[in-house]
Symmetry: C2
Subunit: 285 residues, 2 copies
Amino acid sequence: MKRTSQIPELREIIALERNRGRKIALIPTMGYLHQGHLTLVERAKQTGAFVVLSIFVNPLQFGPTEDYSSYPRDLERDVRLVEAAGVDALFHPTDHEMYPHPIVTYVEVGQLDTVLCGAKRPGHFRGVVTVVSKLFHIVQPDLSFFGQKDYQQYLIIQRMVSDLNLPIEVCSVPIVREEDGLAISSRNVFLTLEQRQEALILSKSLNEAEIHIRVGVKSAREIELNIRERISRESHGIIDYVEVRDAGDLSEVVNVESTVLIALAVRFGSTRLIDNKVVEVRTFV
Amino acid sequence: MKRTSQIPELREIIALERNRGRKIALIPTMGYLHQGHLTLVERAKQTGAFVVLSIFVNPLQFGPTEDYSSYPRDLERDVRLVEAAGVDALFHPTDHEMYPHPIVTYVEVGQLDTVLCGAKRPGHFRGVVTVVSKLFHIVQPDLSFFGQKDYQQYLIIQRMVSDLNLPIEVCSVPIVREEDGLAISSRNVFLTLEQRQEALILSKSLNEAEIHIRVGVKSAREIELNIRERISRESHGIIDYVEVRDAGDLSEVVNVESTVLIALAVRFGSTRLIDNKVVEVRTFV
């Protein structure tokens, strides 16, 4: 596995592979890798592409009161994991390599970024889209891979790529869960044993909501309310949001009549967890 | 010369040349080409690159009260000009090709875009930077060429490329002037004979300002005031702005002690003209 923190060196590594006729795949991450990331690697490798994985905890996407400084980091452990997973090149730039001078250029995806996590974390998606733009320009991949746990992020990146004519295929990979249903996240490491147990209510309530839809519940508000009530009743989690939205454009839904995203964000202590479920609904006319 | 309005066809044309080992140069224009544009072509050809020139009157960069619909257009004349000038590929997309659905993604360069033309034309540079991003992603040029008449635009594009790690060299080409000094512009066609004559005051007052600096005038306010007074005295032009600013970052200048940009925008009837001069000042310590 090649490994570099330097943009010019990474570009050379990639140019060599491209000249050999290989496609390039990029997996942007913030490190502290887990099975979710490794599933992205697996999917990327299946395409036969030269797989580049980046690790960069991007300061731009954290709010002033958020967990940038405490975000978990362990580069040497990550290196062993990606090497074993068959990543071809690891890019782990420093802050200075990514932002050598204060940045004044931002890429912003309107509409999609003002709801759900965007409403709760102002500037977050602007930071995400800007750093992903930079990584796209550095790597110039043919394919890129994102996890569906950050469903909104995936939709936003896809829209950015389409609006700005980037010649990149944006692929998404389903959420990877622990055996008991908890969506795998780098932030899970901060949960106490008790919080870890209580957090199971997230996936359980999403599963229950899907069942409600399957048996004919149409009202998005009713579905949201059921989830909220169950989380409040069965845990100490503080709800950031619980929302049923159109899975294609995140627009508001009154009655569930086409495929929806059920998304939630809940705080356990100082740890904010997100989870979601896409429920495919076919309309029979 | 190749000629297309379709993005996929343009990409094929370019991929072929790139695979032959040729560098690609892009000259983004709004058409109604003049000697200024043809000088960009000449400079691009000197690099040996495969020269792509785009013609697209970008609705995104015009304000609601601006001259989008009346902006001069003459594609067939432009085709003859670029063919004669030796352009390798002409890209003239429709609005629908560039914006197949309403765009929600914007690229914005802060700080640099709030002064001069940016202060007078809100949203203008956001529109410029966004469409240039799109063209950069479509063409993926190694080099791109911009005229110094739009000096602020050139600086902004350069900053965007640097901030977002686009692997593109941004080259600028000096202003081309008529024999009598008027900066060549597509909008000059709208001037009456009288306005055309009066507009000479722009380049004259810029030249005079340079002389003032050379003989030791330091005060930026004094230089601005001299230009304003001369324009008001000797023409019916309505001044939009006259400003002396740092040529590197457009920051405000009190005393001229390093290289400055003297920039102005003046309306003659409904036609808004811009002009500028970069005055190199060396500090001897």
